[in-house]
């Protein structure tokens, strides 16, 4: 297993270069630049050109990228060209907010999705049909829209949860829970419905297999059949779904953070892109790539735990 982890990590190094290079290239295709943002709409072309030169934005493309890489490998990710704040500090500060959304929403999606999917597969009938309908809604409704509806009910009408904003866990655990509850629910809805549907399909297939009939015929307790055999054997495709959903949810935080005005990586990426703040954009891209690598690694490890054949291979 350690060899697998080591191999994965080695493979991810070129990926970091590829992603940051691609982001750097794409950013340079977007019209405008940071100098124009800083100087505003009344700036003369001469002033913009001068600031571009000062900031090194007129240097050749590869030279600029090499300059960034040269510093990044030593742990220096530069400073925001707009706010002057160190990129590393900004990213780390905001990573906590994004993780505060991402981890609980994935846990909620996994637990609620598996429970609903198992319940649907085992009981069938109206529960299965209800889950089908809710799944369709979960797929169809965009998370930001769900977020707006949740705000209007729980913040504006009932007044029990804050409409916007984030309180760090260290400041007040209870306020932290209050500040992330609605965003987490909005972000996890798609995951819950996707995992519920995946779990139901997989579990139904397993429940129909001969060895389950054999276990039941031999008097193995139902709880053991469901939890040890059905759930375990149907969870490999579910783990795959969870991996994909995690990566999708990472992108979903961009919208959710804007709706709930949370200072996470998503809103940082949005603002940095609007400002053409290249050091920040690259810092966020690097962080998102590392997160995706970590998620894939965790999913691989879960595969190994669930399926011994994977470990052997």
């Amino acid at each position: 297993m350690l060899r697998v982890i080591g191999h994965r990590l080695l493979v991810s190094i070129p990926l970091l270069f590829i992603v940051t290079f691609a982001v750097f290239g794409l950013e340079s295709l977007i019209p405008g630049n940071a100098a124009q943002t800083i100087l505003g709409e009344n700036a003369t072309p001469a002033a913009v050109a001068q600031l571009n030169t000062q900031m090194g934005l007129n240097d050749p493309f590869f030279e600029r990228y090499a300059h960034w890489v040269g510093h990044a490998v030593t742990g220096n990710f530069g400073s925001s060209v707009i706010s002057g704040a160190p990129v590393w500090t900004s990213v780390v500060t905001r990573l906590g907010v994004t993780m505060s959304l991402l981890i609980p929403s994935l846990v909620l999606a996994a637990v609620a999705g598996v429970v609903l999917g198992m319940a649907s597969a085992v009981r069938g009938g109206w529960l299965a049909r209800l889950i089908d309908v809710v799944s369709l809604l979960g797929f169809a409704l965009p998370s930001f829209w769900v977020g707006l509806i949740l705000v209007s009910i729980f913040a504006v009408k009932l007044g029990v949860l804050p409409a916007t904003g984030y309180t760090p866990l260290g400041t007040s655990p209870s306020e932290w829970i209050a500040s992330i509850t609605l965003p987490v629910v909005a972000l996890s809805l798609y995951g819950i419905t996707a995992i519920a549907k995946q779990t139901r399909d997989s579990a139904s297939e397993v429940l129909d297999s001969d060895y389950i009939r054999f276990l039941r015929a031999n008097g193995v307790p139902e709880r053991s059949v469901l939890l040890k055999h059905v759930l375990r054997n149907s969870s490999i495709p579910v783990a795959t779904s969870l991996g994909l959903i995690s990566i999708g949810a990472l992108g979903g935080t961009v919208f959710i953070e804007n709706v709930f005005v949370l200072p996470g990586l998503g809103s940082l990426a949005t603002q940095a892109t609007l400002d053409h703040d290249i050091p920040v954009i690259l810092g966020v891209a690097l962080c998102f790539t590392l997160a995706v690598i970590a998620i894939n690694l965790v999913i691989d490890l879960i595969y190994g735990l669930l399926n011994p054949k994977v470990r052997v291979s």
Binding site: G32, T37, L39, E41, N42, S83, P162, A163, Y166, V259
Partner: protein
């Protein structure tokens, strides 16, 4: 299929999930005491103020900061030399007295308030003010083009500063207010290390920027300045500005008391009013079609003033304003809005399609022509205004193709100055005719560098004059601009703000549509009842 054990497992797990959800909501309810503040920017206490702004500041360095409503980011920590009240009156702040020296509006002097210190402990004196103003002029910020052509800033004595302009500059007092940057004075320590101004502040203002408690692009925190010269004007211990761009999120934050002051939106204003918020408005943007290519470089017809006048006659301004902005827009046919010196009663263009067609025919374009117009979707969401303006021109045979820039205002400005587009849709905003004429004579409003000797002469005379004579000359300039039809004003929109019912001393007007929370006296500073 469903055995008792299965149902038990399902029931138990469902109960756990339900309990978790209920306890989370319950915990949250206990936390907020049934109210709805919460979150990092939660207000609630009357000794704190949380306000909203749609976007982050361009910079926290006063010399590189933005203007308009974003002046609040800087003004909380940096007093201006002269304060412009919500009604537009100029009152003493760091400068207690000011006047032009001699005639011609080229030399301006002001005296400084005594007993004022910067947060770095240094005393406010003429040397410090001169250093700050000189730093502004060299810092490369976006507002440096709005403060007149300054030849020199010098200290006359310990508490008197003199500004010498290269050209007559009639709005020197206005340019030293909170909206122009040069008047927001930075302390010597901040000037010695300008990078420090991004994460802390060194001004004489009511509050001190607290970079450690701020999150760039999300929340900007300020704490009371213990050295402020007029403690009675400090009504809050803490002030925060939260960045919330989405109009629905703004409304939610205002309705639930998370912010006490927010920028409004025509789409959400009715709901805000229904929710008990005060909806305050003031005329602000003057949406206009700039006929930029006045020499016909890329579109020959625009070189003919009859064509430009025909275009000016093609807009049913009353209907457009009513349809596009409801009660938050008014028809506007002049460069400046009513109430601003230079506004000509009964001036501007009426709606007259027949006359417009005649003018086009006389100019040699009886069947109209094709025109590409540059616009943007940042402050004209979905280009609703632009499309309506373009449609209006169809009635006189001008086929408009809109080129929409959606990546940012800065890029829009660069596109405008590329000289590829003969016309541009964008609002002007100026509280004086001088400011508006300066605006339309440069940058994105005048990419082809047009000039008119007649209007320049009138303005030069007006800029050196004072009182009624100056107002009459501005009216003449305004009329000349109407004849030239370089800029076609169409409608003015209101700056909308939502105020919590307990927030007081917030005023705005045509001259100053952007209220800020601090002022040099108790009555001019916002407070909560």
């Amino acid at each position: 299929m469903g055995s008792t054990a299965t149902r038990s497992v399902v029931r138990r797990t469902t109960a756990v999930l339900a309990a978790s959800a209920i306890s989370a909501v319950g915990l949250a309810a206990c936390t907020n005491g049934g109210g709805a503040a919460g979150g990092s920017g939660g207000g609630g206490a009357s000794d704190s103020l949380t306000m909203q702004f749609a976007g982050p500041p361009v910079s926290m360095d006063p010399a590189k900061a933005g203007n308009g409503g974003s002046a609040a980011f800087v003004s909380l920590a940096y007093d201006p030399l002269i304060y412009q009240t919500g009604e537009g009156k100029l009152v003493p702040d760091l400068a207690t007295k000011w006047q032009y020296v001699g005639t011609g509006n080229k030399v301006f002097e002001f005296d400084l308030r005594h007993g004022v210190t910067f947060t770095d402990g240094a005393k406010l004196d003429a040397a410090a003010v001169v250093a700050s103003m000189r730093y502004f002029l060299k810092a490369g910020g976006g507002l440096v083009g709005n403060v007149g052509s300054i030849d020199a800033v010098t200290a006359v004595d310990d508490d008197t500063v003199r500004i010498t302009y290269k050209q007559p500059y009639p709005i020197a007092p206005e340019s030293l207010t909170q909206f122009f940057g040069i008047g927001n004075i930075i302390g010597p320590k901040g000037l010695a290390d300008p990078k420090s101004l991004l994460t802390s502040s060194d001004g004489t203002g009511q509050y001190v920027y607290d970079g450690a408690k701020s999150v760039s692009g999300n929340r900007y925190a300020y704490k009371r300045n213990p050295k402020y010269f007029a403690p009675s004007a400090q009504h809050f211990k803490n002030v925060s500005i939260r960045i919330i761009g989405d109009p629905n999120a703004v409304l939610s934050a205002a309705r639930t008391g998370q912010v006490q002051f927010a920028s409004g939106d025509p789409q959400t204003a009715a709901a805000a009013k229904k929710a008990g918020l005060t909806v305050q408005t003031a005329p602000f943007f003057n949406w206009s079609l700039m006929l930029a290519d006045r020499k016909g470089t890329v579109l020959k017809p625009l070189a003919d003033s009859r064509v430009r006048q025909a275009i000016s006659l093609a807009f049913d301004r009353k209907t457009l304003a009513s349809a596009l902005g409801g009660r938050f827009a008014s028809p506007s046919g002049q460069l400046v809005l009513p109430g601003i010196p230079g506004y000509v009663k009964g001036g501007g263009y009426d709606y007259d399609v027949a006359k417009a067609k005649k003018l086009l025919a006389a100019a040699g374009y009886p069947h109209g022509f094709k025109m590409t117009v540059l616009t943007q979707s940042l402050i004209d969401p979905n280009t609703k205004y632009s499309q309506a303006f373009a449609n209006a021109l169809n009635a006189i045979g001008i086929d408009v193709k809109l080129k929409v820039e959606s990546t940012g205002i800065a890029q829009f400005a660069a596109d405008s100055q590329s000289k590829k587009y003969p016309a541009v849709i964008f609002p002007t905003a100026g509280s004086t005719l001088y400011a508006t004429s300066a605006q339309i004579s440069s940058g994105l409003f005048n990419p082809f560098k047009s000039a008119d000797t007649q209007v320049d002469h009138i303005l030069a005379t007006a800029n050196a004059a004072t009182g009624t004579k100056q107002e009459q000359l501005y009216e003449q300039a305004n009329s000349r601009y109407a004849d030239l039809a370089w800029v076609v004003p169409i409608m003015s929109t209101l700056n909308i703000h939502y105020l919590a019912s307990d927030l007081k001393n917030v005023t705005s007007s045509t001259i100053n549509p952007n209220p800020i929370p601090t002022g040099p006296t108790s009555e001019l500073s916002w407070a909560r009842k």
